[in-house]
């Protein structure tokens, strides 16, 4: 793989299971070296199935993919040597300690004996588990398990990292810490990260580019900003202090853009010129001596992108499906 070719290249990848629809239905994507690619979608969309195929744990029904320059079907062992993966379950042995996990991983990866201990210590420091290193994993918190999971994926120094819903079930603090480490890996070490998530804010915060997947197909792809700009402008929601002033409020705001009203008397108007129009809105209301109870600016979210592309909201859209082969 040279620096100009994609780190991950997928062409018309399909995965069918024996009974049921296609879990992955002909996806195309390319991830540049050093990029964080966010793969966003509800439960059952095909995210984990895609990861399993790209990490060679599940053969595709059809299509091609290259990871780290290696074909996933014909060069599986080279692919596995190039990647690290933290899959959907933390997949740890509760009886072993954190250090023992790392030593085992290092041994199985073929690391020379002399380097294993040093490498394990190094990774434990990096993920902040030195104090807990010699405690059994069964006693670790969810955040600690995820950090160990990440460390195990990095043992053999891969250039490409697959993270399958790495922060699901974690508290805010643990989640932020993991985000920081992932961002650092990409920025300082040039690691390519393929991250699946169902959390909008995670994709928003971390990903350089986002691919939105639904029912096995990629429905949208781009940077978070591009995707949001594509579907619309920000809106401002104004609630009048006087419930009877709704009509007057709507009349004043109609000149800005498309209006909508709700039963609470609030008026929502689109700002085609962007959030910079907010000041103008305030000026108009002030000139009209209209008092407001609240005024809120809403930026389009990736949820709005999903809604625009699929007709459904992302949050709550997922069916509970097992994406593994039955």
């Amino acid at each position: 793989m040279n620096s100009s070719s994609p780190a991950i290249e997928v062409e018309q990848l399909v995965r069918e299971f024996r009974k049921g629809p296609r879990a992955v239905d002909g996806i195309d994507l390319a991830v540049s070296p050093g990029e964080i690619y966010g793969f966003l979608g509800p439960n059952g969309a095909g995210k984990s199935t895609t990861v399993l195929m790209l990490t060679t744990l599940l053969p595709p029904t059809s299509g091609r993919a290259r990871v780290g320059g290696y074909d996933i079907l014909r060069q599986g062992s080279q692919v596995r040597a190039s990647i690290g993966a933290a899959l959907q379950e933390a997949a740890l042995d509760a009886i072993l300690t954190g250090r023992e996990h790392l030593m085992l991983q290092a041994t199985l990866q073929g690391m020379p004996k002399a380097d294993r201990t040093r490498r394990a210590q190094n990774l434990l420091e990096r993920v902040g588990l030195t104090e807990a290193a010699d405690r059994r994993v069964g006693g670790y918190s969810g955040g600690m398990k995820r950090r160990l999971d990440l460390a195990l994926a990095l043992v053999h120094g891969p250039r490409i990292l697959f993270l399958d819903e790495p922060t699901t079930g974690l508290d805010l603090q643990s989640r932020s810490a993991l985000w920081e480490e992932v961002a650092r890996l990409a920025k300082e070490e040039g690691m390519t990260v393929f991250l699946t998530t169902q959390y909008l804010e995670e994709a928003d915060a971390l990903a350089d580019r986002v691919g939105i997947i639904d029912h096995g197909k990629i429905v949208a792809e781009g940077t978070p900003t591009q995707l949001k700009e594509e579907i619309g402008s920000p809106t401002v929601e104004v609630v009048p202090a006087d419930a009877g002033a709704g009509d007057a409020l709507a009349e004043r705001l109609a000149s800005f853009g498309q209006l909508a009203r709700n039963g609470r008397g609030a008026v929502t108007v689109q700002l085609p010129g962007g959030e910079s129009q907010l000041a103008e809105v305030v000026r108009v209301l002030d000139q009209a001596h209209l008092k407001v109870a609240s005024l809120q600016l809403h930026q389009p979210s990736l949820d709005d992108v999903f809604l625009a592309k699929t007709g459904r909201k992302l949050e709550g859209a997922g069916e509970d499906q097992d994406e593994r082969q039955p």
Binding site: L57, L87, A91, L96, L108, L154
Partner: protein, 269 residues
């Protein structure tokens, strides 16, 4: 901070190193869950104690070997213990599959054969401990080993070989079905095969014809009789040949099928 190793530069580890790493984990898990050894150790010994005494009058049946029933019954715990080894091997491996740890191992250069051999390492340790304990308790309770000290060693070898074969069966069930529940579900069936054998009476004293037929065709009968011959007879070449023969056959079949199941389970492109 030291530099990360280049991923592609790492040479695949030697097979023995892989087996050793997995075996070390398997043994560690066994040693750290000592409590789980208690039931498989105690249960067969309790049955042995009860049956050894409760069926003491069986020696009055004409044709019963001229030994105490306790001597006759000591062979059975070794087989029951092997069943427990089968279940614990299977549930351990099934747990790895269900938790996703199996996938983690699949992402390394670990060979399927090394994974299987290593997993069975812990089973062998358990089998050794169990066999020594059963023999020691039997001797302490007054059982005489007709084949002497040498025979006792051969008994241990045969017992461990049988346990190894059953461990392969446990691994096969885990790899085939992928859940601990499925493995546990087979346990009653395995337990029943011990009863439908010459575990309680010599085959020639089984009166009910269908039962006699079943016991004759049940390989477990020959495993028990092989061990029993060392305890009550001495050196019985035929019994030993059949015992070792069936034990080796069990190992070959279960490990062979488990190897195939491992290939199917360890799906990697």
């Amino acid at each position: 901070m030291s530099a990360s190793p280049s991923a592609v530069a790492l040479a695949p580890p030697h097979l023995f190193e892989q087996v050793g790493a997995v075996a070390r984990r398997s043994v560690m898990r066994t040693v750290r869950q000592r409590g789980l050894l208690v039931f498989p150790l105690l249960f067969p010994l309790i049955l042995f104690a009860i049956n050894g005494s409760a069926l003491g009058a069986a020696r009055k049946i004409r044709g019963f070997p001229p030994v105490s029933y306790r001597d006759f019954a000591l062979a059975v715990p070794f087989i029951q213990g092997a069943l427990f080894v089968a279940v614990s091997t299977g549930t351990d491996l099934a747990r790895d599959i269900e938790s996703g740890f199996f996938d983690r191992l699949a992402l390394t250069p670990l060979r399927g054969s090394a994974l299987l051999a290593g997993q069975l390492g812990g089973s062998v340790v358990v089998a050794c401990v169990q066999s020594v304990v059963y023999l020691a308790v039997g001797v302490a309770s007054g059982v005489g080993i007709a084949s002497g000290f040498g025979g006792a060693l051969v008994l241990l070898v045969l017992s461990i070989l049988i346990a190894f074969g059953f461990a392969g069966l446990g691994a096969l069930l885990a790899l085939r079905f992928g859940t601990g529940e499925a493995v546990q579900g087979f346990f009653p069936l395995l337990f029943v095969t011990v009863f439908l054998s010459s575990s309680s009476l010599p085959r020639n004293l089984i009166q009910i014809s269908w039962f006699h037929e079943v016991a004759t065709y049940n390989p477990v009968s020959y495993l028990i009789e092989g061990i029993r011959s060392l305890i009550i007879t001495g050196w019985d070449a035929q019994a030993l040949a059949l015992g070792f023969g069936f034990a080796l056959l069990l190992c070959v079949l279960t490990l062979g099928f488990a190897g195939t199941a491992m290939k199917n389970r360890l799906v990697r492109t």
